[in-house]
Symmetry: D2
Subunit: 339 residues, 4 copies
């Protein structure tokens, strides 16, 4: 089987695994207070040009979204998110479990805009309604699209105007930076908090949360502990992030995933296969006849997204740092035969 | 000022006030375990033809919705509600505060249908998503429309099929029964739980919750207490409900409100004023030019709903058991002058 | 039956009922934004000498404790309370339901001391433990004892030192002021927030929350709405509080209850009956043989507290504004016969 | 520095690390649905003689305790735990954050008894109090003591009698089985749910939850996801547990830790050093003069527990699978010099 199911079902990049093995005999203090975590935090602060940021490490994306949002908001404050947002649909109500409404906003390309934020805030008045307070975006989005630097800045400005927090879920931040024009320091400049995803980009597991806004930093490790989100052997997270962030491996891996994703997209278009969204990153969404999908599953793994009309279905093909040119060639060749 | 703002800004119906005064000197056991509450519960069980139902009394609608939904669901189970549903917008995230996602469904007339429920359930699969479990409807709806007996029965059937609970917010249940073809026993037959609203229909305050489904009755007073929803002098609720339910005052008051609401609607139509929804009950939604609205506020109270295009705005005029023929005549006359 | 069961199972004082009847025909804006609530709030601010305080009205004690504590604390912040505290045992985990640990402190007389607070704070260090933040006291306490002005001041000082909030549950605040040396303005001076209980002192229902500390006032009505704690016809609360607070009825009723409570205590002592706690207010806790208790229940209502050794049981006799000299004489006479 | 700080600050056992490296290139389905997790689950079901048990893997102890307890209980149901219980003090109110009161029971040796459970249940009556429902024990306890098979059985019987769930936190289950007379199958027989701790016994991270009682198994992966407790690359947990459970390494490592712990305890006794608790496992609690402690910290890491009177302090020395005979000899020798 050739794997396009997702970008998180493989092991670690060899450099990450090597770092884990190399440090395995160390005896460190627990709970992320060790030197590896401190060093990785400092690296992140430097990359993001945020000397005052607080950096915390988590084992997974739902965990970090839930803990951060729960910590940042008062109970009646709500999240504004695009309908496709990971917290809206794929985290089993994790944000709501901690008491917060998530306001779903239609957004065909998966991206929020200043106009959407203004409209939501204008529609929420008084104590009988929740108070919108945190803007949740993902970059890349769940449909592979990317916020540009200008778009991030525009969201920042409207957040200032409306007194909102801007939170960016960076589960695929490397791909977003490679596919667009943003760099680490833009997230430090425009977001109140954001994550740097490791799970989908070379680590065994790990998401780094960067809390830029000083007022959101207080007591945060209490929130983490209360959520069961402090790893006893926290060292593991510092070691892994250091392995990919020092030396630039993080962006290299994302660039590889994106390059193959775009090669795949170009090949699909050349075959005349429509794409449900024009994604510049590593998630590609072709629309295929059911019979083709059925035949394709014999040799390739991927997820189906839903019906796309005329008996066709939208599927998702994901490339990763582990994908190869041959993987892409193979799926395109097979599709050529099937169509 | 003539009052069309809502149906809950007046005092109690004289018969209710009289009952409170008459029983004021009694010394009863607290927390709703007194004879007045027991008697009112028994009356409700008889009216609804539900000998096995549990009946509990609350001081307000948000309180009862929140307590019931929180008690009935596991934390990952979600509510399906029409976008206009009271819990979606006007309860400040009360249901989410207790951990449950509310899935908002577009429904222009404020009503859920079997097709909507099937679609929501089909779209929620696996543990990465919440599990839809409770269907929230209001009768009358927040836009004044009414579920018929046949519609309730159809929802019941699809709930059985999809293993969902059916909960009806009856804040204006009297108006729903008067304007449609349902009776108390239909709610007992088709709902797993429902409320009988008193606050908007003659009481100082009070909503009765009827839990029909035996499996949802267990431990419920614990939930009430934990929510701060057990009134110390619970007698007050039993006394008031008895005053309106024994002898039929409850339906008489609702019929009066509806009759004046329909008189108002007919008058508005005769004046050529469009209505945003065709409501058969006591909430009427004319669309008026801004200048007319502005002039109207000098003598009448009412709420605005939102822009309706072409510089016009939708407003809500509500009639109640306290409204008079003269109130309706006056507003129609004034509108005639203004248009 | 002669009633010593509690101080909240009777109706309203005639002056309160009269005020409710007198204002029943008024049409007011809802949700506690009416003139009666504004006027009662202003009266409370003046009585407490707190021009900047926010005042909110609730229908019950658990509701106000839960809403206030939930609003004031971050999720990992905890409450320090005496073991006998109402929130520790008799509110079905309402504070925990909103996510906060309540640290139970042994305190035989029901009262917290600076030494207890220092000890709790010293024992809670770092993010693996909750962070104690709010001190919950009741005045009078649940065992009838009373904090003096000096004791309140000492708690205030240690709260300043330890960066804690001081919250006083004043369900029986009238009795506390009458039995001790505190006045309304002392609560305004020493507490961050406190309640003035109406349910146990002449009202049909009602607790006023006074939020003194400006930092705790923000967004509070959102919290109330989310908890289902805003009464639609909020006017009822303003009217009732005005009836007892303007003119001094509130303290008169409490003084009556205390005077009869102390008459009862003196009579019990004269009969040689031991009291489990030396209460200067309206709750009296005699220790009686089982046989006496059994006989007493034929003519008197009261609650049992628990075994007191040697086959005896501690019971609670409560006097209220509704109790009479004759009630006290009767129970003492009967006890004289039984012993 | 020689390490006695705890049993979770080292890397993985070589066999575990080797297994992770060996399987790193595999492409598996995510979220713990892979063959490694299925195989490890099956191994656990066989070891525990529980063919019907559900097995789930977590990254940490607070996470599993919080998720399990939150899933098993209705909101008003409470946990009974010994005062020293990990959830009482060292999880930052994680259980309370999900809405449940934890009833702290004094227990000098860290162990609950049937008498304690009966007393707690007898003291909780009616809806004004929480309903005790889940019994939380740890084996070994937080003070190193161990429940015997007979004690477990006795707790099971009283839980049946009182309709309580029995939950065992097995963060150090290997040490408990080695130091006492219990085996895996006893937990399967007597507990409704329990954990098998990996973090403290050879793994990089990992706790296995075994849900024995069928009624507690429903929908549990929803709870996990909602808590952010499903690891994307869940394979890592299956691989690690398989490495220690197949072949018996799990018990060997625990036996090593216990043997060195007991050697340490014997040595301390021989030096005349009092122990605050008589622990038969790998956590040893000597009481030492401050000056000795101060000198000891130059070469050894360990935690202090608190003052023990007469200017002395109780400290905790922990041995693990990584500790050596030489480590123990060294600390005893140094203590011999210092005393």
């Amino acid at each position: 089987m050739i794997h396009f199911r997702n970008d998180y079902s493989m092991g670690a990049h060899p450099a990450v695994l090597e770092a884990l093995c190399r440090t395995n005999d160390e005896l460190t203090i627990g709970y992320g207070c060790d030197e590896h975590c401190e060093s990785a935090s400092e690296t992140i602060r430097e990359l993001c040009d945020c000397p005052g940021a607080a950096v915390h490490f988590f084992t997974g994306g739902t965990q970090v979204n839930k803990t951060a949002i729960g910590a940042f908001l008062r109970s009646y404050e709500a999240v504004i998110a695009p309908e496709a947002g990971h917290i809206c649909v794929h985290e089993s109500g994790a944000v709501e479990q901690d008491g917060h409404k998530v306001i779903h906003c239609p957004a065909p390309d998966g991206k929020l805009t200043p106009a959407i934020l203004r409209s939501v805030c204008a529609g929420h008045t008084g104590e009988h309604m929740v108070a919108p307070k945190l803007v949740y975006i993902s970059n890349t989005t769940e449909v592979g699209t990317v916020y540009s630097r200008g778009e991030l800045q525009a969201l920042r400005e409207v957040c200032n105007e409306l007194n909102l927090f801007l939170y960016c879920d960076g589960a695929r931040l490397g791909c977003a930076m490679d596919a667009g024009d943003t760099a680490f320091e833009d997230y430090g400049a425009f977001c109140d908090a954001f994550t740097i995803g490791g799970t989908k980009n070379g680590l065994l597991f790990g998401e780094a949360l960067v809390i830029v806004r000083p007022g959101l930093q207080r007591g945060f490790r209490h929130n983490m502990k209360q959520q069961g989100a402090i790893l006893a052997k926290g060292r593991l997270l510092g070691v892994q992030f250091t392995a990919v962030l020092e030396g630039g491996l993080y962006l290299e891996l994302a660039a590889h995933a994106n390059r193959l994703g775009q090669k795949l997209a170009a090949g699909l278009k050349a075959l005349g296969i429509p794409l449900s969204v024009d994604s510049p990153s590593n998630q590609i969404f072709p629309i295929l006849p059911e019979a083709v999908i059925s035949a394709l599953t014999e040799d390739f793994t991927f997820e189906t997204q839903g019906p796309a009309g005329e008996g066709r279905t939208c599927v998702r093909l994901v490339t990763s740092w582990r994908s190869s040119e041959e993987d892409v060639d193979a799926v395109l060749a097979r599709l050529g035969e099937l169509l």
